[in-house]
């Protein structure tokens, strides 16, 4: 199998990088987000979050249900500045 497995496609972060930083102690989704930008791209982690949570669970030897999912921030979906600038009904 090829070594280069891209987990976060928005920011092009590989599985190997994620495992390296988990080993350095960055073993929560939000810490990995801050150091590698995983989940900061336009998809906001829809593609990579589950895979990364499973990696954290594996490294820590805990069930994935015990790994905090990290912070979700608005907007839920990217919105154009031009549309937001027009405002809305108050």
């Amino acid at each position: 199998m090829k070594k280069e497995i891209v987990v976060c496609r928005c920011e092009e972060v590989t599985l190997e990088e994620i495992r390296q930083w988990i080993n350095r102690g960055y073993d929560s989704f939000d810490e990995l987000k801050r150091v590698l930008r995983v989940g900061m791209g336009p998809c906001q982690g829809r593609g990579c979050r589950d895979i990364i949570l499973k990696e954290i669970a594996r490294a820590k030897g805990v069930p994935v249900s015990e790994v905090p999912v990290g912070t979700f921030r608005p907007p839920a979906k990217p919105v154009k500045l031009g549309i937001l600038a027009e405002g809305g009904d108050k």
Partner: protein, 383 residues
């Protein structure tokens, strides 16, 4: 990480101030430094900030500080062995009012005297620096090409990794719950995980520094204000090469090297309720600012908005120094929105103060006693 109940110094707070101070203490030879962070490193104000670095200030001390920080950031990568995302696209200051422009010119004269190469640019030159800029209504601009921004996460983590290599112990998810003082000297801290005896305790708790000071019985006039910010999807570089900043326009906007554009402003009503929420009002207001100033961003999408705390002091200058009646209790807080850019240098100065009692830049005026003595350091150049 194993728990040791003794240390030479305990640093409270895992933002840039705490991590930089811990790193510099170890670098200067301290063997047993412990840092406490109630969440994870860089999860507070530092990780939420606008990331700017500038020498364009209006007070001599801040100019000296800012210039030292620009110098330091230029060499951080080699010193710490990790990229810190430095991008020196300059700060383009935009004045919309006559009085504001005169203040920029006065600041520039001071900066030039101190060796900072700030200069006036006209609207055409401003548009060369920032193609697509729409600021016909501006009165004037100043520009310093060495200003810019860096990645707050990478900078703090670079300090963290270097500190760990020097033997600093970093405890995350560890909240300071009390500070023990005996005979006018700090003797240790209590935490949710146990106690640590230490003759030196550093308050680098950012938005919560006033509460940490109170644990030692010290009242400081800091308060914490919520500021909001947003970031767009990455677009091609060159949409906003400099940091655009205006005090009357109430904005700062910059584009990170990987393409995302970040923008924020000072909040209406100055909320100080320790909430870290996001508002629709900010999103709409900031989108109007973006599209007016940079019309070609209309089709660029916002991917995220968040907020963070500015730890404010009455004169918007930081508090640095040792507590008068509690020897060994040091404060480095109240950076009022510019703690990230000062961090690499202020951590160095704090370590110098703690270990030698002297500092390479005079920080005596930054002691909190200035508030009682009425010797405020009012900085005119802040958003």
């Amino acid at each position: 990480m194993t728990w040791k109940n003794k240390a030479e110094a305990v640093v409270i707070g895992g933002g840039i101030q705490g991590v930089s101070t811990a790193y510099h203490l170890a670098k200067m030879g301290m063997k047993d430094v412990v840092l406490l962070e109630k969440g994870t490193v860089c999860s507070g104000s530092t990780g939420r900030c606008g990331a700017g670095i500038r020498a364009q200030w209006g007070l001599e001390m801040n100019c000296r500080f800012g210039l030292a920080c620009v110098d330091r950031f230029e060499h951080l990568h080699e010193e710490l062995g990790m990229d810190v995302g430095l991008n020196q696209g300059g700060y383009l200051m935009v004045a919309y009012e006559e009085g504001e422009y005169n203040q920029l010119l006065a600041n520039m004269a001071l900066q030039n005297r101190l060796g900072i190469d700030t200069h006036i640019v006209d609207y055409d030159e401003a548009k060369e620096i920032c193609p697509g800029l729409a600021a016909e209504d501006a009165v004037g601009f100043t520009f310093n090409a060495r200003d810019g921004h860096a990645d707050p996460f990478l900078t703090t983590f670079a300090f963290q990794e270097a500190a760990k290599r020097l033997g600093v112990t970093i405890h995350k998810y560890t909240e300071c719950t009390g500070i023990r003082v005996a005979d006018d000297h700090v003797v240790g801290v209590d935490t949710n995980r146990g106690s640590i005896d230490a003759p030196v305790v550093v308050n680098a708790a950012g938005g919560y520094s006033q509460f940490v000071a109170k644990m030692a019985g010290l009242e400081i006039p800091n308060y914490s204000e919520r500021h909001e910010i947003l970031i767009t999807e990455p677009v091609e570089p060159g949409v906003c090469p400099p940091m655009l900043m205006s005090f009357s326009g109430n904005y700062y906007i910059q584009q990170r090297p990987h393409g995302s554009i970040i923008g924020g402003c000072s909040p209406e009503g100055h909320p100080a309720d320790f909430q870290l929420g996001n508002s629709w009002d900010f999103l709409e207001h900031m989108s109007k600012t973006f599209t007016k100033l940079l019309p070609r961003t209309k089709g660029v999408r916002v991917v995220r908005q968040w907020s963070g705390l500015y730890n404010m002091t009455p004169d918007r200058a930081p508090i640095m120094g040792e507590a008068d009646a509690i020897k060994g209790f040091f404060l480095t807080c109240g950076y009022s929105g510019h703690g990230f850019m000062f961090g690499p240098v202020s951590g160095d100065l704090m370590a110098q103060l703690i270990l030698t009692g002297k500092t390479s830049i005079d920080i005596d005026p930054l002691h909190y006693r200035r508030f009682a003595e009425g010797k405020l350091l009012i900085e005119p150049a802040v958003v």
